[in-house]
């Protein structure tokens, strides 16, 4: 029967056009994905991408603004989760969940926690309390069965010895396991786990992996999982969905997602696993200073990310210094890496097809050096096609590259507006953040696209606005906040007197 369940590949949960707005804040925007029956589906993405919100919609804690959530039970019954109350979803649709910040009943014992989870069947067998109160044997039997079931799960999570201790007294990792067991005691068909491996060390997450695979294989329960620990996600999930800013940016098998440049840029960076591999290689190669090598590796990774994905929170504290040249040490591992990974890494190499800048490397000899030392050929098609590539280590502003999003909208390949400059006039940029609506991140993006002065913004035409919004990923904000008007006023003001201290300006 179990194998039958696994072969049955129909979707247990279909999320269609799901949107969730909190006031003006769009937490989820038009999200579509499916969770397959008998499979482990992982939901990953940067912090605040809306993953937990998706969970809350599925489990009924939020009512989605729009969209449809269809749960298909094994017996063929279909439930529209967005129309059901939270506790009915667990009771009827058989969806159970855990919480990011563990929500155990800390004053009840471990055993009691598991008994509370069996509330509904016990309620029935106790004749809604009345028969149980009078001591009918049906309840006694049901209560004994419930304890047996609890014992089964306690054995599974290795907590039988602590069954009579308060749940609040357990160490963190055990609490996480107990929460999963408690959810399983509701006999769910879909188990939603919100960061089950958070706070677990490598060994404990390995045990967690085993437990989750066990649950999937033995009970046939499908699992939907939010997780940041890639050792969990990549090893056990059958399918991965990646969210960013409430929208899906990638969807597929762990391997395909892992190598999707968008995901790497937005979320993964360089994986720990790669670092471990590299570590081993470094050891083999007789490099003494392991930490230094690792350090370089991750430094480079940060740069890759910064360049390819300006929305990602940039290491501003780090980046205040001059751009660090990527050191050749990091590149030594390239030839040995798997081809797919090489493609991903190639995002850090210049992708000539799309880069239409006048002089990217010239301004930064380090970049040129990097390009030269890297043995990677810039052919990697998967990466090159995606317009996210920018030269590595090129922090200086006069670098233009294809915009990260909606490239077809921009009139110029460089992604910039018509009046883009290669460098600020007189080497001094205006404080664009003085315009309401422009923050440091946007200022950096504007600088990267050759906008340094108020008068440039002031002279924007409609097409320019569209182009700018494309790379800033704004819809209509420029007009709404009247950047052009603001810029005109600022430009006028700055003509009268020179701009004072400019900590926010480009360097």
């Amino acid at each position: 029967m179990v194998s039958e369940v696994q072969k049955n590949n129909s979707a247990i949960l279909r999320v269609e056009r799901l949107s969730m707005k909190f006031g003006g804040l769009i937490a989820i925007n038009d999200l579509n994905f499916e969770a397959k029956r008998g499979a482990i589906t992982a939901l990953i993405g940067p912090n605040g991408a809306g993953k937990t919100t998706v969970f809350n919609c599925i489990t009924g804690f939020y009512k989605p603004t729009e969209g449809m959530l269809t749960m298909t039970r094994q017996n063929g019954e279909e439930y529209l989760l967005e129309r059901m109350a939270d506790f009915v979803i667990t009771k009827k649709a058989k969806v159970a969940r855990t919480f990011q910040n563990i929500r155990l009943f800390s004053g009840l014992t471990v055993l009691e926690n598991l008994l509370v989870a069996q509330h509904n069947p016990l309620m029935l067998s106790s004749g809604y309390t009345i028969l149980g109160l009078l001591g009918f044997p049906t309840y006694k039997k049901a209560a004994a069965d419930a304890i047996e079931k609890a014992r089964f799960w306690l054995e599974k999570i290795n907590l039988v010895d602590r069954a009579d201790d308060p749940a609040g007294d357990l160490p963190y990792g055990a609490q996480r396991r107990l929460e999963i067991a408690r959810a399983m005691c509701t006999e769910p068909e879909l188990l939603c786990l919100d960061e089950p491996a958070a706070g677990l060390n490598a060994r404990e997450s390995a045990e967690l992996n085993k437990l989750l695979l066990d649950i999937r294989d033995e009970t046939g329960t499908s699992i939907l999982l939010i997780e940041h620990d890639m050792s969990v996600v990549m090893e056990i999930s059958d399918h991965v969905v990646v969210l960013e800013y409430g929208t899906k940016i990638s969807d597929g098998t762990p391997d395909s997602v892992k190598n999707d440049p968008k995901v790497i840029a937005a979320y993964l960076g360089v994986e720990d696993e790669e670092i471990v591999e590299m570590l081993e290689q470094a050891e083999a190669a007789g490099v003494d200073d392991i930490t230094a090598a690792v350090d370089l590796m991750s430094t480079e990774a940060i740069h890759v990310i910064e360049e390819t994905h300006p929305d990602a929170p940039a290491a501003a504290l780090v980046a205040t210094g001059p751009a660090r040249p990527a050191k050749p040490a990091a590149a030594t591992k390239q030839p040995g890496a798997k081809p797919a990974k090489t493609a991903a890494k190639a995002t850090s190499a210049p992708a000539p097809a799309k880069v239409a800048t006048a002089k990217p490397e010239a301004g930064n000899p380090a970049a040129a050096k990097t390009a030269a030392t890297k043995t990677v050929t810039p052919v990697a098609p998967a990466a090159a096609k995606k317009p996210v590539a920018k030269p590595a280590a090129a922090k200086a502003p006069p670098v233009k590259a294809a915009p990260a999003k909606a490239p077809q909208a921009s009139p110029i390949k460089a992604g910039a507006t018509a009046n883009a400059l290669a460098a600020p006039r007189d080497g001094k940029a205006d404080r664009l953040i003085d315009i309401k609506g422009i923050g440091p991140v946007n200022e950096r993006k504007l600088n990267e696209h050759g906008i340094f002065h108020f008068d440039q913004i002031a002279s924007w035409k409609k097409a320019d606005v569209i182009a700018a919004e494309a790379y800033l990923a704004f819809d209509g904000r420029i007009a709404r906040e009247d950047w052009i008007g603001q810029a005109k006023a600022m430009a006028k003001a700055s003509q009268k007197k020179p701009v004072p201290g400019k900590s926010g300006g480009a360097k």
Binding site: G45, G173, L200, N201, R203, D272, L317
Partner: protein, 243 residues
């Protein structure tokens, strides 16, 4: 051990929860300008040690000395006044206050002239928080709350920063980013960091020295790269899932 230059030294500390001994004879120190990490399994007592530094719970025996001053019996708020800041386990942000207010709560009162600058630095580190500046702490996502807790600790311009699992619930990219920032702060301002982590690999990579804790006892200590290379440590904390 270089006792005389230690900024924080914990000597032979024992801590109890009720009758249960959580820490037994822990001796750990952090020199000024050092990043020290404490790794170990869940329930080993790492967070307890972190909280014991703040006197919650108080050490039953032993001494905790910060900058030459015995702080073992000081009340927590006075310890905080010595510019020891903490990003505690479980985040503990103020859920009904906005992001901005949370950061204000973290700011040290005698250094208010730096307030704007510090807020800007925190926002540079976590642009996500800036986007959420007027949102209540409790409505942030888990990872954002973690960022806020770290940001709030940084607002105190600490001399010693205690970080209890800063990477908990954060995306891999942000974790790297935070570790980078810690390193940078340490390099540029000489900030001393005491770091408790599950992510042993990341922590050891970042730290100068490390301690390994098992059941409330420090079983191993040494330079990070030695620990990283130590087969026992690797087997227990670094490679659990992979071999």
């Amino acid at each position: 051990m270089a006792q005389n230059k230690a900024l924080l030294s914990i000597e032979n500390v024992e801590t109890y929860y009720g009758n249960i001994r959580a820490l037994s004879g822990v001796t750990v120190h952090a020199d000024a300008g050092e990043i020290v990490t404490l790794i170990g399994a869940n329930g080993a007592g790492k967070s307890t040690l972190m909280m014991t530094i703040f006197g919650m719970p108080r050490a039953r025996t032993g001494r905790i000395i910060f900058d030459g001053k015995d702080i073992t019996q000081l009340p927590a708020h006075e310890i905080a006044r010595l510019r020891i800041a903490q990003s505690p386990e479980g985040r503990r942000i103020f859920p009904r206050m906005t992001v901005q207010e949370n950061l204000q709560m973290g700011a040290s009162l005698d250094k208010l002239e730096y307030f704007d600058e510090d807020v800007r630095k925190v926002f540079d580190l976590f642009p996500r928080l800036k986007e959420r500046i007027n949102q209540r702490g409790g409505t942030l996502s888990g990872g954002e709350q973690q960022m806020l807790a770290i940001g709030r600790a940084l607002m105190a311009r600490p001399r010693l920063l205690l970080l209890d699992e800063p990477s908990l619930g954060l995306a891999p990219l942000i974790i790297k980013h935070i570790f980078e920032a810690i390193k940078e702060l340490n390099k540029t301002t000489g900030l001393t960091v005491f770091l408790v982590e599950q992510n042993a690999f990341g922590a050891l990579k970042l730290a100068d020295r490390g301690y390994v804790m098992v059941n409330g006892i420090v079983t191993m200590s040494g330079a990070s790269k030695d620990l990283l290379a130590n087969p026992e440590v690797r087997a227990a904390y670094l490679e659990g899932g992979r071999h």
